[in-house]
Symmetry: none
Subunit: 209 residues, 4 copies
């Protein structure tokens, strides 16, 4: 799949196969979505939630951005794409589970770890640099303990998931839903190389599912 | 798939099936991603690009947010999640095609069309209201011509895709890539109800693929 | 396949499968057809030449009507659908083989054999009655020898093929092409029940291929 | 597939494969056909309905002639091959859907558009010229609006389908079946080059399926 023609070809396969088999389901879905699960994942082409979890259309509300980040609650105005998606999912769709899904070999995490884009101008790496600034505090801790090599990379991928979860909890409506037992938040990292999913445990460690 | 246990079950099916069949491929992917295509799609649970286009891991870099929106270039600082993703995809990964993918029955578009969340506070609909403010200009035109019923909804879903494409073109590095013939931008709307993909044509109309 | 929706579904399967596999071929075909073979077959839903012979797009020019009939050459004007098709195939496309393909359990042949539609008005069976009048002479001979039962039916299916071949030979351009060795004419009957194809031999008998 | 030997080879593949897998089905089909759908298509070798729609034996009653034409109802006697087939399909087989299927790059339509065979004698192009005279009225309108180039060709391919549908509606038994809700008539054009099927809409436009 390397160009738009490939996408259209894929669409025809979908329409000629899977869509027809689930025609009735699509007809129901047209009346509205009722996902119970939200996933916040990376834009990385290797981390497709529908593939990794085998979810079907209508099941998972998905946000994807560089390094699966969630900024903290900020009521001072301006555009907040992730906040809008979380607000919509939790207050309107009433999703019951949110998964923040990190992954191995994450380019955004690596740019944070190595500060490779520091001082870049917007359009020349500056947008990414600013965005992954959300990881700054975690990065300092990680680099101090694990350095900027492979060990640091893995550690920051895991810490990044924790940062996003921490930020999710700054949203008043999330706090409320958590307290009411209407929402659960999970973290996990999918390590591409060995195909393992490591899930965040209550004690803060990530353990293979 | 209604809770986290279902996700883990799905992960095991993936690991026991598809992942094993493509073990070699995943091993290659672990060394880096080289997608040629970027898709900007809605977070809506019914619009999973990997499903609609049958793409495989490593093939498509994906941004998903409410109503598949792209804000215009803004160098004044602050967090810009979509801009970061586009910058990373175009300047670093050198994707050659970007598809902005709208869809039928879009809740974000509907909130814009009907202004149902106007004047909401952040956390109570205000984040969504602010975010879909990106559609304000298009909405005025659409409502004037088609009203706020089903016809207006379809029209704004299509106009929204055009807004995102227009905004993409405000990024200097996108302009440069377009001029150099290194990048193409496409628009399409997937109508859930009848399963049709309508593609933006050169003359501005959307036509079934 | 019982309604139009089924046809459209089938088209999507074709577009998502076979068409994509032969995309290059279709691209070539778009520039023009160069079939070497013409088949004149019955409209009967069970006698699909592409299925029986496994032909691919672009390979066989096909006429289908009730009872696979060819009227004799008639230069006196009026609409001649079959003559137009034969003229186009032989003088313009230069097909090198024509196969007249009859089949078992042919309703048109049966209506001739039993004269079940004799004296019907146009629109009430009269069009069919008039059309299968092309078999009148053959019918008389067959009924005399084999009666109007199953034996007569099989005999008239075979004789009907011979009638069409005889009529083909009344066309001056066919005579010319046959004499020049540029065209061959074949006859065959596909017996649905046992799936056998019986081919017209030089001595006038039909023998299993 | 370039000669009769290839046809026989193809028949053996059919008998050794598909026929055996569906032996039971063929046994049932031998007792009679009960198609619900009729397709009127062009004789063109590239437009095989069974291929494009993936129909199976027994499912579609098919007429094929040059340019997929239907003459209007004419009770004045003489041979009417298409009328016989339509009469048989609607009054005897009780098909519930008729599709008139045009196609791109149609030689018959082109001969009408460009009048390349005008004044030819029967056997030298005259049969085709007379037959495609059914398009004369549509051609005038099309040439006036779109000229005789590629745009005119596409327009006349679409208009030709409408002409055949209009003529179908002149048959009293068709009118009756339509009024009783027992029959539907559809139009479509298969564009060979891009593999798209464009379907006639209620408003007279052709739109990709």
């Amino acid at each position: 799949m390397t160009d738009f023609t490939d996408l259209i070809d894929g669409y025809y396969r979908f329409r000629g196969g899977e869509w027809q088999q689930e025609r009735e389901r699509w007809s129901e879905l047209a009346t509205g979505q009722q996902p119970k699960v939200m996933i916040i994942a990376c834009s990385d082409s290797r981390v497709e939630p529908a593939t990794i979890f085998g979810s079907r259309p209508g099941e998972v509300f998905v946000v994807r951005n560089v390094a699966n980040l969630v900024p903290p609650f900020d009521a001072s105005g301006g555009l907040h794409g992730v906040s809008a998606a979380v607000e919509f999912a939790v207050t309107k769709l009433k999703v019951e589970e949110i998964l923040v899904l990190g992954h191995g070999a994450c380019g955004g995490v690596n740019a944070s770890l190595t500060q490779s884009l520091a001082d870049s101008k917007p359009g020349e790496g500056g947008f990414v640099a600013e965005w992954i600034g959300l990881l700054d505090e975690a990065r300092e801790k990680v680099v101090h303990q694990h350095g900027t090599g492979p060990e640091g990379q893995t550690a920051l991928e895991q810490e990044g998931v924790k940062v996003s979860i921490k930020n999710l909890k700054t949203f008043p409506f999330i706090q409320k839903a958590l307290e009411a037992g209407e929402l659960k938040i999970h973290g996990a990292v999918f390590a591409i190389a060995d195909g393992k999913l490591r899930v965040l445990q209550d004690d803060g460690r990530f353990e293979a599912a």
